[in-house]
């Protein structure tokens, strides 16, 4: 492909197209961010006017905060389990549903449904399902000789959280489905005619074609999973903010720790510092994935080429 001259790409056009985001970014993201950064240099408690600048003391304190580090490693481990499972699960479901089935709309709806159940309902629901005494899951397992399992406390809480997260993979499935719709059936057919098996055609034709979307799912999946906070809190005894105190050790993820500092300790300064550090860590992860994407993501146009 010949290198185009700049006349094909007037600068103004690009800025016009991305303008809405730039304006929104400056007002709705950058401004609050500056405020939040300033907050991380104070001992602000979230409400009272009596606060002082403390410099980078919050950041140095964080370096020696063993609870925070333990929570961070727990979070990374959780992400390493959940993201591959949910991307693979969403892809698998999408492949199953991207065919001519009877009542295909109904099937799609069934799998998408969990991802639209409001959080509060999800919480009630899973506590009902997983409750040791009155829960349906233990009732179902009982005839198989399984003694009542306490799902919501250590160590089972970790698995309960994974189940709950995977249950909502319908959102990812929808995106995968849209991606699969974009794969020309003819290409796969051509590969099959050339003698490739079904799996081989899928692996060498379909996967590369949808790799930009897979990449998208992996990146957004990592970002979202690292930041999970509501689900572990909702699986505890109360749904209130102080419910954060009851989060079991095994699901006490980094954001839960942050939440605890913000709303239990009223340490908005320290909490903001924790978030800034977390932000940098997520950024690093994402750049890592982006690095790797050069080897496995296939684009029609090289949109990263220009700067």
């Amino acid at each position: 492909m010949a290198r185009r001259t700049w006349s094909r790409y007037p600068r103004r056009t690009f800025y016009l197209f991305v303008g809405p985001w730039v304006a929104g970014f400056l007002l709705l993201t950058a401004a609050p961010l500056v405020y939040a950064f300033a907050m991380s240099l104070t001992n602000f408690d979230g409400s009272s006017p009596r606060w002082r600048w403390v410099g980078f003391r919050n950041y140095t304190e964080l370096l020696g905060d063993e609870y925070a580090w333990a929570a961070l490693f727990r979070t990374i481990g959780y992400t390493a389990i959940v993201v591959p499972l949910s991307v693979a699960g969403a892809l698998g479901l999408a492949v199953l549903l991207n065919r001519r089935l009877k009542a295909v709309g109904l099937w799609r709806t069934v799998f998408y449904l969990p991802s639209v159940v409001p959080v509060v309902a999800t919480a009630i629901m899973w506590k009902l399902v997983l409750n040791r005494d009155a829960g349906i899951l233990n009732t179902i397992l009982e005839p198989f000789g399984v003694d009542a399992i306490a799902w919501l406390i250590d160590p089972m809480a970790f698995y309960a959280l994974i189940i709950l997260t995977l249950w909502g993979l319908g959102g990812g499935m929808v995106i995968m489905l849209a991606a699969l719709q974009g794969v020309p059936k003819e290409l796969e057919d051509a590969a099959r005619v050339d003698g490739a098996g079904r799996w081989k055609a899928f692996r060498h034709v379909t996967i590369p074609m949808i790799s930009p979307v897979l990449y998208f799912q992996v990146v957004t999946g990592i970002i979202a999973t690292l930041q999970i906070v509501v689900q572990p809190m909702l699986l505890t005894e109360t749904n209130s903010i102080s419910g954060v105190a009851g989060v079991p050790q095994s699901t006490h993820l980094y954001m839960v720790q942050v939440w605890e500092e913000f709303f239990l300790g009223n340490r908005f300064g320290y909490g903001s510092a924790m978030l800034w550090v977390f932000f940098v860590i997520i950024l690093a992860f994402t750049l890592l994935v982006q690095r790797s994407s050069r080897w496995w993501v296939h684009y029609e146009v090289n949109s990263d080429a220009d700067r």
Binding site: R8, V18, W21, Q181, Y299, S303, D306
Partner: protein, 297 residues
């Protein structure tokens, strides 16, 4: 070359191979249905359990040994769900906000995504990295500053923040659109440029129609997101103007302030219905996009 001309033969082409293929595949179809059914039980089971809870009394709800079916279906839970709070009014608020937000953000994100996928200018790469990184910002970080900002602008207790958010595009959706637009063959673009189209025309006339599944996906995701969002309305709206998600989270109480979980379960079931209907409607449009035929044709 216009859209309609290109589209029609493409559809006609595809009809036949599909039909014959599906006949050949019928043998394995049974297995697929069994698999789907098993998965469906896992996915819908908890929701069914919630629905059953919505038909129980507060006592049956925590009974041990577990009561699968209520002794007598408490349909009154649904009546309470609709009348204890002004359910229809809150539903309208939610519907209104979610629609405005979803329409605006789908369009703005598509525009920005197009810019990042197809256009070039100095600083683009850096800007995209900034955009990606904003996606990683934990929402809690900007929660309080955002409130302070809207308070200063006098926009607390109004719906304007949703319009602003809608116009500002979502990094997540921009990323989504960019990935899709980047996958569209360059030949389409070239042809249009030769025909003398500007980039605006190319975007509206070629890329948007080609990406109908993504547009619908984006609308669906942003609608669902706004419909289910609790934090923003709880922070910014008062009791009369807030959304259904806030209302059903904590407002089903007896006069003494005890939660009414079975009524809440009923409300949660009703709350999911609109999103489900929109999805049922939208999924029909997840047809094979025209990208495919574009390559061949």
């Amino acid at each position: 070359m216009t859209q309609t001309v290109r589209r029609r033969p493409a559809h006609a082409d595809r009809a036949h191979p599909h039909r014959s293929r599906s006949k050949r595949k019928r043998r394995s179809a049974g297995g697929v249905y069994v698999l789907l059914l098993t998965l469906a039980v896992v996915f819908v089971g908890p929701i069914l359990w919630l629905l059953l809870a919505a038909l129980k009394t507060r006592e049956e709800w925590v009974a041990v040994p577990t009561k699968v079916l209520p002794e007598q279906a408490q349909w009154s839970n649904f009546v309470h769900a609709l009348t204890d709070i002004n359910f229809p009014a809150y539903a309208m608020n939610s519907l209104f906000l979610a629609t405005v937000y979803a329409v605006l953000i789908t369009i703005s994100s598509a525009m920005v995504g197009f810019g990042f996928a197809r256009l070039r200018a100095p600083g683009k790469r850096a800007m995209f990295l900034v955009l990606l990184s904003t996606m990683m910002l934990p929402q809690v970080l900007t929660l309080l500053p955002t409130y302070v900002l809207f308070a200063r602008l006098g926009l607390v207790n109004t719906y304007w923040p949703w319009v602003l958010w809608g116009l500002a595009a979502s990094p997540f959706l921009v990323f989504l659109f960019r990935q899709f637009f980047a996958a569209i063959p360059r030949e389409l673009e070239d042809a249009a440029i030769i025909d003398g189209c500007g980039w605006g025309r190319i975007f509206v006339g070629i890329f948007l129609p080609l990406s109908r599944p993504v547009l619908i996906t984006a609308f669906l995701l942003s609608f669902t997101w706004s419909w289910g969002d609790y934090i923003a309305p709880a922070l910014l709206l008062d009791v009369d103007h807030t959304t259904l998600s806030v209302a059903i989270t904590a407002w089903y109480q007896d006069p003494r302030g005890n939660p009414l979980p079975t009524v809440q379960a009923a409300a949660a079931a009703l709350y999911v219905v609109p999103v489900m209907l929109i999805f049922l409607f939208a999924q029909r449009y997840f047809v094979r996009s025209v990208v495919a035929s574009g390559v061949k044709g």
